[in-house]
Amino acid sequence: MNISIEQLSKSYGMQKAVDNISFSVNTGEILGFLGPNGAGKTTTMKMITQYLNPDNGDIKMDGRSVFDHEVKHRIGYLPEHNPLYEEMPVIDYLVYCANLQGVAKTDAHNQARKMVFKCGLDVEKHKRIGELSKGYRQRVGLAQAMIHDPEILILDEPTTGLDPNQIVEIRELIKQLGREKTVILSTHILPEVEATCDRILIINRGKIVADGTAENLRKQAEGSQIIRLKVEDTELDNLQNSLQNLMSVKSTSILDADTNAIEITSELDMKSNRDIFELCASKNWIITEMIPMETKLEDIFRDLTMN
């Protein structure tokens, strides 16, 4: 199911939490929602799940406005702090959620068992939720969001509190689900977005500041190419001077004098890798390392959200 968000706004008193944002997500797409604390991620998610009413704008699912009770059946939601009924046993809780979502009575138990298996809760299924560790509680939260096999999954920071193994498992699970469902997840863990999401949306102070794949965002941010180079059979000074004379090279900086390691920044919108190779080849220097450096997502994020 496609979601399209049109000119959505929401204020808390004088403060604008979400300021006129529009975007859309298609079936089979995993959208990563990024932003510093208080950027409006959670508020947007709460509006998509109908917990909050927007001041302005519309949210449409397959062209139908979301402010229609029927649509809720098709959304699975993991809220920010993962609220749960502490006193309920895991399996009872999942059956309860299935019932609330209108899953037929016999299916509710099957679905609950399936989710227990899928989310690795088998050992803990008869414990009360209050007795579980944070990671297991998070799994219960995910299980309840997916219990009725929704077409849309909204996950607010799904991997907080999980250990590294669990994080990998949950990411795999989300990716797998993302093939046939529409997934929106928010996080502040940047490698996570890269690992799971098809598309990234960076939001700051209620406004969208970037929208695209991780690669696209990098390209936009890059401008100049950075290459790390190690060369044998030459003096460092000689190497640096020759490089500096190349047309496409803007600046060089020495990383390690012993191994002749050097970092080369190209002129804006130019690539220097060919020139460097040809220079070394013509002088019979042996290149032992030549690495194009990618701009880190962290840098892009910081660029866009710090001002």
Partner: protein
């Protein structure tokens, strides 16, 4: 199964999972049992009448205090723990949520009343017993409970603090239970009549005497419905 019923069942179960239900049953049966059978002055043997009039007047007061204890957590706790967000983002409307909670509390009270059936059976064998009046009395108790549950539910819906919800429900209850009655007896003319009409005891007394008047039924049902609608409004009204 409709969400209302699912919520009602879950809520009733959680009364019994926590100790609230047992505490309530114990206290309710203890109080009413003591005053009906043991207290000496005013108990059933003292009166030498085979009826449950004592029970109905004591149950009225006991429920007046205990219903706020049942209702205080119903919505306040969901707010505090954030689970209200979980419920309302599922296929559950505010009305279904509030109705489910209301039904759960009402079922809890009905269960407590069912435990007093032995009183009914015992007393009915003691002499000339008016079954009709007694059944009406039970009906009156249930109606009155529904009204107090409506009040308690509303109190619980406006705060995330259970203690505040309890005290507020009790305060509103005091108005209906005592204050309006006192104002009615001290005032005169139209004002007195209005307060007498608002006083819960005026209506409860006539039902517990065995007279079902549509006015009384409408009174209790309207308070319950008002409580439910106001709670629904409070739940659906978010920032």
């Amino acid at each position: 199964m409709s969400p209302t019923w699912t919520i009602a069942r879950k809520e009733l179960n959680s009364f019994f999972d926590s100790l609230i239900a047992y505490f309530l049953l114990f206290a309710f049966l203890g109080f009413t049992g003591f005053f009906v059978w043991l207290s000496g002055n005013g108990d059933i043997f003292f009166r030498k009448q085979a009826d449950l009039a004592v029970f109905f007047s004591i149950a009225n007061l006991t429920l007046f205090i205990f219903i706020p204890a049942i209702t205080m957590r119903l919505i306040a706790e969901e707010r505090k723990s954030g689970t209200i967000e979980l419920l309302l983002t599922k296929a559950v409307s505010s009305r279904q949520l509030v109705l489910g909670k209301f039904l759960a509390a009402l079922m809890m009270v009905v269960i407590a009343l069912l435990f007093t059936i032995p009183y009914y059976i015992t007393v009915s064998t003691l002499g000339n017993f008016d079954h009709g009046a007694t059944l009406t009395g039970y009906f009156g108790l249930i109606l009155m409970s529904a009204a107090y549950i409506g009040i308690g539910l509303f109190a619980s819906s406006i705060t995330s603090n259970q203690i505040v919800a309890f005290i507020l429900a009790l305060l509103i209850g005091v108005c209906f239970q005592f204050l309006f009655g006192i104002l009615a007896s001290t005032g005169s003319g139209l004002i007195s009549e209005i307060f007498s009409m608002l006083s819960l005891n005026t209506h409860y007394d006539s039902i517990s005497r065995g007279v079902i008047d549509s006015k009384d039924v409408i009174y209790f049902v309207s308070i319950s419905l008002l409580g439910i609608f106001l709670s629904e409004y409070m739940v659906s009204k978010r920032k």
